[in-house]
Assembly symmetry: C2
Homo-oligomer: 360 residues x 2
């Protein structure tokens, strides 16, 4: 068995020790004589797995007491609908920031339920910068302010948290959660699909402040009603138990790595190595304004797009896979989530230098 | 490692060869150097897994060409909302049959979106029988007729398929799907949470006739819009890839067992052994009308409920676990899904006889 360096944007690489443990426990978890997949979600064994996962996440992110942590299904895309359905309450208006492909999807879905006010957009410059906060045209009556701290496709990341005052701040953290510490108390609601930094696809994390729970429209599907799920400990219906278990293993692994402070140090070093390689070359380039570059998703293009296919083919032969950029951006994209080892980035940088020398 | 006989109602026992293969492929699927969990859902490897799974399911169930198969998230409970949101169209009314706990949940959720007409109910007799078809008060203008072919909690199963004429028939098959052949062409839509006979929790199967796709209310969350998901091959957002893969392994296993005809023969034999043991005893009893007894979920009570705790404790010591009945019914429940080996039923029957002899 040869493992590759997998730069996929998601579903994405998972920590090898997590996969090894999942493998070893596949037919018998902790002497129960069954797989975690086979356990009743209401049984003692699974409840202990679920509770530990939540506690470890709370420890890692220092989630304040007055926030609920929900383990749901449907992906961030389901939350694009659930958020307005749960948070609008009597108001009909919500503020959204548009910094890329995922912002746009969130906006399009919210328009089914709310009058969406786009407070700022960087579409004019191809989503390569973040609109300065002082230019945002905010609505003081908005039910909430939504933004996307990290745009997985454009490779754009907020280095700061917007100050939304009394308006609850809502963030799609799918591709940045757990990559570094974040002050949860600045947010009304955080959410993330699991398939980047948490675990397998099919699990969605929602961290929501107590006072925002309980205002859903009667038409919200029960499984997406934060009050229903919060009161049931995310078990109003059968939760994605195996994903929850794997997320718990990832949380344990993160703690063993030194927590989110240690991950930030590592992630900054990994990203810096790749951006340096790009910036110090006349062959590779990244269009994003340096202060807004993502630590997690690094798109880059080759000076000659005719070489894209060869680059991908040779990279794959070198064990560096899933580097093809999103079709809307072109070129390459290397996603450097927590589970991507620094050695993977080193190997990529080395390959890029070698390729440039031979082909540029 | 000692595997137990796990009679959980769901999440439930999976075929051991499926778990063994998942274990062996955990860090490296088919020489790709990565886990299925780590694969991009749009990559060649996962697409091949997804397509094979769908084809195997179509083969097993003989799904006609004019039906879409969707691999979704949210469980059957999400479908309780998605069905009226997708199928009502211009009509506001839907027919529902009430034969137990899961029927009631489907009805409660549908009432958020539709005028629900309960065409028949067996609540008066404690859900121990199926209301005869000729007594059903159907609405010829209903958008669809919904029923629950197998009630997981009450242990009640329809031995026949209602003839709903021109009104599309919709069935929650969560706990009966794949247990025996079914004529899909009789239905407008079938759906099932995976965690009983398909795979792990977090995957939901929807099989829907083409002409019923495309009529959703504008307020349906996109991830639950059948048209959106059908057009995107169930990938309008990231699907639960690992669950999809495991479902595919289960489908392969079912084919190797001889398909659904073979499963029906085995399942009838397993259930008959347990019902015989109950009926031939003055100590155990099952309240369900014999013609409507479930092949999958067999609730039974002890003549002396004081002995329930001891029964469960001794059963567990004998490697027979998760036999506790649902709190609404009491007593015991043995779920006999496809993956429960006949030897597990034999062991249970033997234990029951021994317990009765010692304690009755």
């Amino acid at each position: 068995m040869t493992r590759v360096y997998n730069f996929s944007a998601g579903p994405a690489v998972l920590p090898e020790p997590v996969l090894e443990r999942a493998r070893d426990e596949m037919l018998d978890w902790n002497g129960t004589g069954m797989s975690v997949m086979e356990m009743s979600h209401r049984g003692k064994a699974f409840v202990s797995i679920a509770e530990r996962a939540e506690q470890d996440l709370r420890d890692l992110m220092r989630v304040p007491e007055n926030y609920r942590v929900l383990f749901l299904q449907g992906g961030a895309s389901a939350q694009f609908a659930a958020i307005p359905m749960n948070l609008l309450g009597e108001r009909r208006r919500a503020d959204y920031v548009n910094t890329g492909a995922w912002s746009k999807k969130a906006i399009a879905e919210a328009r089914k339920y709310a009058e969406v006010n786009v407070v700022a957009s960087s579409e004019a410059d191809g989503f390569t910068s973040i609109p300065p906060f002082e230019t945002w045209q905010r609505d003081p009556q908005a039910a909430y302010l939504h933004y996307t701290p990290n745009e997985t496709i454009g490779g754009l990341e907020f280095p700061w948290i917007p100050d939304s005052g009394d308006v609850p701040l809502v963030a799609d953290m799918s591709s940045t959660i757990l990559s570094r510490p974040v002050d949860v108390s600045r947010f009304g609601l955080l959410y993330a699909g699991a398939q980047k930094n948490i675990g397998p696809a099919g699990l969605t994390l929602v961290i929501v402040r107590d006072d925002l729970v309980g205002h859903a429209t009667p038409q919200v599907p029960s499984v997406l009603d934060y009050r229903v799920q919060a009161e049931a400990g995310s078990m109003s219906n059968t939760p994605p138990t195996y994903g929850w278990y794997l997320a718990g293993l990832v949380f344990q692994w993160l703690k063993a790595q030194g927590g989110l402070e240690a991950m930030e140090t590592l992630n900054r070093r990994k990203a810096q190595k790749l951006y340096n390689a790009i910036d110090n070359s006349a062959f590779y380039s990244n269009p994003v304004e340096p202060s807004a570059r993502s630590l997690m998703n690094v798109p880059f293009t080759l000076a000659d797009p005719e070489l894209d296919g060869l680059f991908l083919k040779e990279a794959e032969q070198a064990g560096l896979v899933n580097l093809k950029g999103h079709r809307s951006v072109g070129g390459m994209r290397a996603s450097l989530y927590n589970a991507m080892p620094e050695a993977g980035v080193d190997a990529l940088v080395e390959f890029m230098a070698d390729f440039e020398q031979r082909k540029a």
